[in-house]
């Protein structure tokens, strides 16, 4: 369970966390978090509400200082080299952080200018096309649906080609169609080699997207491995014959006609 499927000895892990500690007052949120994510992989941090997922993401994205332990992105320590870390990462937080007053295009240009890329306007156009937002590009983000906002949010995070992307509960609050859109996006990014750390409370989401899964509970990782490895922890499967009924989700998707 500790083997690294894709890391080569010459590359540091994309994300390396050792013994991370964080408390808020008397409340210990992280009590020795360990996590290693290989470059180019999708890693899911699975845990219930309040397990410390968001706190871990906030420390990794330099928004919060850890009380103890060590965390590094591409070999750069988040506490001592935050500027280098910010060059490498992008954060898509729990709430879609788009500017509602600006249009989709303007939002993307803004990020491009702040990341000092060569041609922010052209990159914005490319991103709009890639995320199916070209039509909506000149409309204010306030007029977008939840799924469109999330796509714009993720598109903004990708401007400047960060090598590590944090997605904090990327599908919370989205309807099933929008959730599937986000999943498709994550798979495309993974195929292009972006390292993704995503947090989720939905087991199915982790199952759908992640190469490896860590279960965060009580401020520590209690289990880590591939889906197969996690399944092996359970008692062996028995064969039973049960009439398969469609889930409500399958019904919903077939009725609204977007199940593909």
């Amino acid at each position: 369970m500790t083997t690294e499927p894709r890391a080569t000895p010459t590359h540091p892990p994309a994300i390396e966390v050792v013994g991370l500690l964080k408390s808020f007052g008397d409340h210990e949120v992280l009590r020795g978090l360990d996590l290693t994510v290989a470059p180019g992989s999708v890693h899911a941090l699975l845990g219930s509400n309040g397990a410390g997922k968001t706190t871990a993401i906030r420390i990794l994205s330099t928004l919060l200082r850890p009380d103890g332990g060590r965390a590094a992105i591409d070999g750069h320590d988040v506490a001592t080299e935050p500027a280098r870390v910010r060059e490498a990462i992008s954060l898509t937080g729990q709430f879609t952080a788009v500017d509602d007053v600006l249009t989709g295009h303007e939002n993307l240009v803004l990020v491009g200018q702040l990341r000092h890329i060569a041609d922010p306007a052209a990159t914005a156009d490319t991103m709009l096309a890639r995320f199916g937002l070209t039509e909506a590009g000149d409309r204010r983000a306030a007029t977008y649906s939840g799924g469109m906002r999330r796509r714009l949010d993720i598109a903004m995070s990708l401007v400047g080609d960060p090598s590590v992307l944090f997605l904090d509960e990327p599908t919370t609050g989205l309807d099933p169609e929008a959730r599937i859109e986000v999943w498709r996006t994550v798979r495309e990014l993974a195929a292009q080699g972006t390292t993704i750390l995503l947090t989720t409370q939905h087991l199915e989401e982790a199952e759908q997207l992640a190469d490896r899964i860590s279960i965060l509970h009580g401020g520590r990782i209690i289990v880590e491995g591939t889906l197969e490895e996690l399944k092996a922890l359970l008692p062996p499967a028995r064969v039973e014959y049960v009439e398969k009924r469609p889930s409500l989700e399958e019904i919903f998707l077939s009725v609204v006609g977007s199940a593909s």
């Binding site: 906030r58 330099t62 910010r86 954060l91 937080g93 952080a97």
Partner: protein, 256 residues
Amino acid sequence: MSTVLTDTVVLTRRSLRHVLRSPDTIITTAITPIAMLLLFVYVFGSAIDTGDGPGEAYVDYLLPGILLITVASGVAYTSYRLFLDLQSGFLDRLRSMPIARSAVLWAHVLTSLVANLVSLALVVLVAVAMGFRSGAGLLAWLGVLGIMVVFTLALTWLAVVAGLTAKSTDGAGGFAYPLLFLPFLSSAFVTTDGMPGPVRWFAEHQPVTSIVDTLRRLYAEEPLGDDVWTALAWCVGLLVLAYALAMRSYRRRTSG
């Protein structure tokens, strides 16, 4: 260093767009003081004796107070916009990007300065249309501008504190109400001579009176006296205090 500048410019342009696209912010910032100007000059003005000798129009007396009220009502939008950035996670997005961190707050402050100067210009234009006249030279007007800039910066940094510490959008803008009330307890509308003892004492020792009197003397080409130092001390002192408080609230809000 150049990234501080370019990042600040980029973010300032962004929040100026917010100002341009929310007409209500322009309306409340400029229209309310203009309405007060009209009300006080054309309704109450005839009953107010400012004792400044014949020929002195009440609009001349009133304008400085109205200018301060313009700024006090204008800065509330800075709290509001900053609070929305915090609440929406937009500030977190910016803070996790490789940009100059001071650019985030300075962009809001510069936007406030630009927006308030535009509102102030509108108010002055209306005052001119109502008969405000001044023979003051460029230097005196630069003095007026300088005081207004420092005053606006001071109130804006206070607005930043309010925006960073607010728990709701209502709370974010609410800090401005006491500021709007202060000019009424000063020499902004009437001279302090007729006020009862304790009120008069308060009026003569609070910042608005010295600032208003200094502005009035600047464009009336009168000798400035000591008031100018009192006014500057209040403005600069307030600015330094507000800036320090804003930095502290920023650190608190973004750590822990």
